[in-house]
Amino acid sequence: MVTTPLLPSDYLDLASPLRAGADLRGRIEAVHPETGDAATIVIRPGRDWRGHTAGQYVRVGVDVDGVRLWRAYSLTSPTHRRDGRVTITVKAIPDGKVSNHLVRRAKPGTLIQLDQPTGDFVLPRAKPAKVLYLTGGSGITPVMGMLRDSEFDDAVMIHCAPRPQDVIFRDELHGLVADKKLRLTEVHTDTDGMLDIARLDELVPDWTERETWACGPAGLLDAAEEHWNEHGVQERLHTERFRPSIVVAGDGGEVTFSATGTSVDADGATPLLDVGEEAGVLMPSGCRMGICFGCVTPLKAGAVRDLRTGEITEADPGVLIQTCVSAAAGPCDIER
């Protein structure tokens, strides 16, 4: 009542955005380069941060060119870091808006949005006797979280990266090897080519006995899943995929109105508002020309094209589109 129509938190946020009770945020405190295109971001999370389990990831909301974008990154810090900070390690992928921003432009002091950590790519309660890590590129990050968190009697890792200098955490990994805490095989794909999964027998003869965590590019994971299946040991394999599917922006596609369970084919020129109405979905609308924002609706999956500018918008949590000036750019899911 005192602050209506705002909430007291709107004022408190001005002074103390990380306090308990605030929306969960974090403050970037440092950015440490790891390789030419990867960096570790040290984050002080807000007071309500619940802590993570090694191997989990966190979704972070970062403002890039003024637009808030959400991505998920594995936590690479041990679970009980003394100073309460957590780290994510980010590899800049070509054209990756968020990753490039974090690796190259993020400044200490910046506030970012956080979700609580989540994910089931974690170690079981009872420590397995023998462990195999199969990783590629930035797939090393959740595994690094595990390695920093607990010690294993018998841990083997096969890690793929284009060149030696592209191996994230290389020094630390070699340190573990020197301390006999890890056996490591580096596959340098620029010179060695992609890892042939059939070589596993030769590299890790007892691989079928090992509890395995695999994380990396889809090709590697697909091959691994097939291989483990073939040998009937699929329950030993735990995988984590970074990007479940890449949105390919096309021209038109199947539009699903998930709330009403309606699906129709749409071309790339008809506004989704018309598509929905024609399909009998109750669509909010107003001016029908893109000025009143009376038609905004969540885009749950897929991509749409702005009919005025041609700009593509991809689904992301919290993304709303104006259905009267957007058309399907490939299959998409509109929450109506």
Binding site: G66, G286, I291
Partner: protein
């Protein structure tokens, strides 16, 4: 709909070409939106909140006259900022592209008795789509005034200067009533419709909260300064209302602004729609501070062309838009605030009296083009 159509010299192709040129201006701004713009709105919001907090803090001691003055002035400015540069523009979706759920047209609520949701419908949808179309755009005289020679005169119009003054003082209530389409909805049958009732209830709730905050809780918090604080909040609301009313009157009422007939918008093309916005709006000239305090509605013409572009960009857009007005020999109605307010009020008075059907006189356009 004045006697002479000031756009008569344009061919259909020219109008479409004009539309394309305006689209290009729009695209350019959209492509250039970024970090700076986001930082701008965040800064304005933070400043507004701080100013409001400090002002209300100072008002706790408002039995001390200087504190009353400073607190009241600060609160008035804070309320104006909330309604104009922030509220109006956020509710237009100007900042939705940031994808910040806290600064978004679907979540924003403003310091105003009309709930955002209802205002968005009557303002964004009806007024911005049907700008200055008689019978369609209720902003045109807010349904209580006659603002064009062609509107039918009725003896009640004699009182319109008085209504307008009262409306100015209690503008936020006027808007709430207007968003509810109270005039129309008070007929017996409509009054009972569940939809209207739900909306009326929402307004009631909002009014209760606003009144409680401004006239009960804050004065009570001030303890011995109860009465001065009450007076201060009342004054701040009054100042905010009169200010907004003046700014908004300047947007479509001054002399030189055109109104349109319902049939003229049938099958309107994009170019024609743009042209109607250009001819149906008027600007206020002045300093940066002036533009800021009007929520950049001083760039009303640009705002009507591009209601969803971030307000901090209207100034640069205005230069290009104005060049187009010149190129197409159209009248860009603008002037300093006092002049425009006077002009609008003058019209309110003039049209409170009956008039003959306007005769074809000297073409408007030429006269004003010289003056501009």
């Amino acid at each position: 709909m004045t006697a002479i159509d000031p756009t008569a010299h344009l061919t259909a192709e020219q109008i479409e070409e004009l539309g394309r040129e305006l689209d290009a201006i729009r695209d350019e701004v959209i492509a250039g939106r970024g970090e700076k713009d986001a930082a701008y709105i965040r800064k304005v919001i933070a400043a507004q909140r701080k100013l409001e907090l400090v002002s209300r803090g100072v008002l706790l001691f408002s039995s001390f006259p200087p504190a009353w003055l400073i607190g009241t002035a600060g609160l008035s400015v804070a309320k104006i900022m909330d309604n104009m540069e922030i509220g109006h523009n956020v509710l237009h979706g100007q900042w939705d592209w940031m994808r910040d759920p806290k600064i978004h047209s679907t979540t924003w609520e403003w310091d105003h008795v009309s709930p955002s949701e209802q205002w968005k419908h009557s303002h964004n949808e009806l007024h911005h789509t049907y700008t200055n179309v008689i019978g369609k755009d209720n902003d045109l005289g807010y349904g209580i005034m006659r603002v064009d020679e062609d509107q039918k005169w009725h003896p009640v119009h004699l009182g319109q200067p008085l209504w307008n003054l009262i409306n100015a003082c209690f503008f936020e209530y006027g808007i709430a009533a207007y968003d509810l389409e109270l005039g129309k909805n008070l007929e017996k049958r409509r009054r009972k419709s569940p939809e209207f009732r739900a909306r009326a209830k929402a307004v009631g709730r909002k009014i209760r909260k606003q009144v409680l905050k401004d006239y009960v809780i804050h004065p009570l918090l001030s303890g011995p300064s109860f009465l001065p604080t009450l007076g201060a909040t009342f004054t701040a609301n009054l100042v905010r209302n009169i200010w907004s009313h003046s700014v908004i009157m300047c947007g479509h009422f001054p002399e030189g602004v055109q109104v349109f007939e319902r049939r003229s918008i049938k099958g309107e093309t994009r170019g024609q729609w743009y042209l109607r916005q250009m001819m149906g709006s008027a600007n206020i000239s002045g300093s940066k501070a002036m533009h800021f305090m009007t929520g950049n509605l001083s760039h009303q013409i640009e705002h009507h062309l591009f209601p969803d572009l971030p307000s901090n960009r209207y100034a640069e857009v205005a230069v290009k838009v104005r060049a187009l007005f010149e190129k197409y020999e159209l009248e860009y109605v603008t002037g300093p605030l006092p002049k425009q307010v006077f002009s609008a009020w003058h019209k309110v008075f003039r049209l409170s009296l009956p008039n003959k059907k306007p005769k074809v006189t000297t073409p408007h356009r030429e006269r004003e083009l010289v003056a501009a």
